[in-house]
Symmetry: C2
Subunit: 481 residues, 2 copies
């Protein structure tokens, strides 16, 4: 009833969308990286819900004119803001095909289930995990971290915590570095553990967690009658891309009986590279790993993953029963285990397909090479910035992130902070490139995160040139008179 | 670097995918509704992660031959299992375009953000909610219910619960009917409240929650020193499609100071229909509503939503800070409020686009008409089954769900249960139609859930005919000798 009255007309529209999409992807360099959404577009997007439909052709036209031009910009070769993947054409085709199939991958016995299982097995194998390890695809690492915290909670308190809740339970305490992403704190909040029970420990000069500090904090918490249960290591911190000493953290977790979770949102992907893998040594000893496909593995948004070494513990955390989801031995209700038993959702999209297409099409060698190249580019950018004399590097370049600020003496710190942020904003407004900004050791910094397979050396040259032009202008405008 | 070396070759592949996809959607009637995944396909989908890539053409060929034919089946006009939407061609195009843009809708200032805001505003307006109401698109109602429980938890315990956790907090208690979906129990578990503190109250003959029972349970819990905080009403129960007396539950929640949440996974969509809206009276008085776009609103998987009347409470539950996500007044880091502050995820796909395309293309009148038609079809199916003399209806048909079983006297209950389940399995195996099964009043039942805009009267005639053929065969095979 909602199908096209004229399939040939629909077919023509779909072909037209392909034409425009291919041009959009191919010609990305010719556009500004980002431009603000015009006020008249914002106004148009405040229109009321329409009672009557509009032809798909007309809806598509509106999309093409008012939405498509105002993408986030992360498909552009000169986008290096936050940690954004840049997507691939193969991934976009896969997403279309997944929507055509419209599979619900919460469970049951059909093709999509086997594709997601394969993707999860690929990554369990990558880390050398046993066959009873498990995992699930989710929206992203924020949710993956939440799931890991919930599984670790089951590990500490037993399955009964599901029925009893936390009000009578021992107070669990977790440990992570100050460089850890805020979503781990949010996970503690959602899980009812309380973010004050995530001990946020200071980092060393290279933004890494010191296992000795963790050991001391654990001992102190035990003395207080609390229950240490979880140690979170970072494989790539969000600000600077630092990697905690995962092998030593794994030792400590083992000695102290802590669940060892690694947040590898982008960094875990570097494990695909034989060259970069030594940096991540110890990640394979984790009890759980969270990472994204939509960052350094370039699948379209959104797709993340949590892997759990003890698959049964994951199942014990989420499996639930309902008469309407009774499993059968045959038919569509067969296919145990169901993914619904490994996470919060009973209805789940087929996000595994875009991952499958990405990895099959490119292979791990090319994906690893793209990751290595981004790391080389970060070192090149560091050298360019140092050579320019206008900027100073403010954090070690461990992977693909370069944090820097204008090197100007004699300014009050808050003025230099304002200048730094303003440089990032004006760069974005210029449309030439996008980087974001953050705080490093209490001071604002610009941050270029090169998680982008389209970036070339020339793009980084252009970045430095543009910044060399913008920075004196900002300085002139913001320097106290 | 991961872009096609030859864009024209990629363009040709994309057009070919469109050709196949349009044929797949147009010719859906000619295929079996579902068929099991062959063992050789399962084996192929156990291959190791490839180091070297394969041409996109070859990957696509493998997809077309081994994955596409084994879809869940819910795109087929004779799929009525569980509660599955059937998708639309417009939605599939939108999903492709979203992947091409590859927007990250966690926040920032770009087009996708305004589209999602518009979609949320549409549904807040539908329920007549104030301008400071909020909401967020999520994977589905399971997650939407979890978010609502977390917001209600903040409402009861204050923002400090995020830091402090639950171990020293008052024990919160919630109330819902026995017909409530298991994901609400899971939400209590994940939130650390404990599923034993969700009071699961018996339903009446029409599967509805009696407010008097809730009032008694609340009084008893208060006597015990517990803290009643949440009442969950159903707008369409999963088994039978029953609607709780939402208006009376809203009264009670107001009198008792409870957060009133409505799980309207599929049923909330019926509010679009002026004809069906009276059945849902009271839903608009909820403090929060969870529902899916991928069920009765026919967007491709996955897309759900939670709406929260007090938007500030939602923000107080999820907003978090990190130096790397500092908001700016200009540039790409502007655009407050960010969706990341209204849910768990900082990286979020552009799932609003498929909803926007669906609603703009069809309009609410046609979507409502499709919903009404499904309800009429359920009543027609009820009549057909009753007339056949082979089946009995075992739950009132309130919306689009018909629960029934073979009407055979003199059999032990467990034998009749086995026969009932076997009928559903054999129907699935026949490829003629898919329905699922459940338990109604302690006995197994077949369940046809017509959340399908492609279904015609002839499809329902065919269902009954096939069941009339299968049931005697099953009876012959399973009847005790």
């Amino acid at each position: 009833m909602l199908d096209p009255a004229d399939w040939e007309k629909f077919r023509a529209l779909a072909h037209r969308a392909v034409e425009d999409a291919v041009d959009f992807m191919r010609d990305v360099r010719e556009r500004a990286v980002w431009e603000p959404v015009p006020e008249q577009v914002k106004a148009a997007l405040r229109a009321a819900m329409p009672e009557e439909g509009t032809s798909l052709e007309e809806v598509y036209r509106e999309f093409r004119e008012t939405i498509l031009p105002y993408a986030t910009g992360n498909v552009h070769p000169r986008f290096w803001g936050w940690v954004h993947g840049s997507g691939t054409p193969a991934g976009a085709i896969a997403e279309f095909l997944a929507a055509v199939m419209n599979s619900n991958v919460g469970g049951r016995d059909h093709g999509a289930v086997y594709v997601e299982r394969q993707v999860i097995r690929w990554f369990c194998d990558l880390f050398g995990w046993p066959s009873d390890a498990a995992g699930i695809l989710v929206t992203g690492t924020s949710t993956a971290n939440l799931l890991a915290v919930l599984v670790a909670r089951t590990g500490a308190l037993g399955r009964a915590v599901r029925e009893r809740g936390l009000s009578q339970a021992e107070q669990l305490v977790g440990y992570a570095s100050a460089a850890t992403h805020a979503c781990v704190r949010k996970a503690f909040e959602s899980a009812g553990l309380g973010s004050q029970h995530l001990r946020v420990l200071p980092v060393d000069h290279a933004h890494r967690l010191d296992p000795v500090r963790v050991a001391r904090a654990v001992a102190e918490d035990r003395r207080q009658g609390l229950r240490p249960f979880l140690l979170v290591g970072n494989a790539g911190t969000v600000d600077a891309g630092a990697i905690d000493p995962l092998d030593r953290l794994a030792d400590l977790a083992s000695e102290e009986g802590l669940w060892f979770h690694v947040d590898g949102a982008f960094g875990a992907a570097a494990y695909l590279s034989p060259q970069l893998r030594p940096k991540l040594r110890g990640i394979e000893r984790a009890d759980s790993i969270a990472f994204d496909f939509h960052k350094w593995l370039q699948a379209p948004y959104d797709a993340g993953c949590v892997l759990v070494r003890d698959g049964e513990m994951q199942r014990a955390t989420f499996a639930s029963e309902g008469p309407y989801i009774t499993r059968m031995e045959r038919g569509l209700a067969a296919g145990e285990p169901w993914f619904a038993d490994y996470g919060p959702d009973l209805s789940r999209g087929f996000r595994a397909l875009k991952v499958w297409f990405t990895i099959k099409t490119h292979g791990t060698a090319a994906l690893a090479r793209a990751i290595e190249r981004n790391c080389e580019q970060a070192r090149d950018l560091q050298a360019l910035l140092e050579r320019s004399g206008v900027f100073e590097i403010v954090a070690p370049v461990e992977l693909q992130i370069v944090c820097f600020r204008p090197s100007i003496s004699g300014l009050p710190p808050h003025t230099l902070d304002e200048i730094t942020d303003e440089c990032a904003v004006r760069l974005q407004e210029s449309g030439e490139a996008v980087i974001s900004s953050t705080t490093i050791s209490g001071r604002r910094a610009m941050r270029a995160c090169i998680t982008n397979h389209r970036t070339t050396s020339a793009d980084l040259d252009a970045l430095v040139e543009t910044l060399e032009r913008i920075t004196p202008e900002v300085l002139r405008d913001l320097r106290p008179r």
